[in-house]
Amino acid sequence: MATFDAEAIAAAFGKYLKRKNLKVTAERLNILAEALATEGHFEADDLLVILRKKNRKTSRATIYRTLVILAEGGFLRKICLGDRAAQFEKSTGQPRHDHLICLGCGTKFEFVLPELPDLQDRLCRQFGFAKSDYCFQIFGLCADCAAAKNE
């Protein structure tokens, strides 16, 4: 895990908010700090629990909206998992990766496909698109869930 400077990211987030004509509030900065301190995937409700434990009163709606702002600004990555709640993860300190997800128990594995960027560039040229983002997930059943389903 590469180290990164939380303060520098907070400063960059402050600038980003100003550019978007949004206010730099303590709540928003707190949410960013907690998001950066969280390893792996988390959802809005996980942050709510963490912030409540620290007696930092922030509403669920504020957390949710701030996470969306952070994802739009590229400070976090949003992972869409179909019908489950949206999850987020840090976008700094780790290379872009994708997920293999078990539809039974929700277990996730990360993988990196080195060919993916080239493939997307080819498809974008073919359709005349200017690429902004992508979303790639592989779904399966892990050995345990597959066995349970067969029983």
Binding site: L123, C124, F129, K131, S132, C135, F139, G140
Partner: protein, 142 residues
């Protein structure tokens, strides 16, 4: 009776739901669509021919199509669920314009073989994939 109707009827029977005229009319209209349609858009089409079918019925019937694997729900990141036909249709990727919401479909052999390798590596049983590329189409770039 076409194959899709057979699948629907079998599913309804299995779930203890009734075969109704409205459900089969909704299926007919859904099968006549192409691409990705939201429940609202489908309801608008249905209303033209059958004014007595309400939105809730359309929405709930779409959920039945998804459960019986006649339709697949797709989400293109704008918060609106869309549905595409799934019967005898190969899994494919989507390239979506964030400007106008239009989505094109593509099939990539490369992605399919990569997917097989990853699934095998983790000893998972494959259940499909989801691949969406977001960007701006030619018209929206101008």
């Amino acid at each position: 009776m076409n194959n899709e109707e057979k699948i629907l009827n079998e599913y309804l029977q299995r779930r203890g739901l009734k075969r109704t005229g409205q459900r089969s009319r909704i299926l007919d209209v859904f099968l006549s669509t192409t691409g990705h349609i939201s429940a609202y858009e489908l309801h608008a089409l249905i209303k033209k021919r059958y004014s007595n079918i309400g939105f809730s019925t359309v929405y709930r019937t779409l959920r039945i199509f998804v459960e019986s694997e006649l339709a697949r729900e797709v989400n293109f990141g704008d918060g609106q669920a869309r549905y595409e036909k799934a019967f005898k249709k190969r899994t494919h990727g989507h390239i979506i314009c964030t400007g106008c919401g239009k989505a094109e479909e593509f099939i990539s052999e490369a992605i399919e073989s990569e997917q097989d390798q990853i699934i095998a590596k983790f000893a998972y049983k494959p259940q499909g994939y989801r691949f969406e590329i977001y960007g701006l189409c030619r018209a929206c770039q101008k």
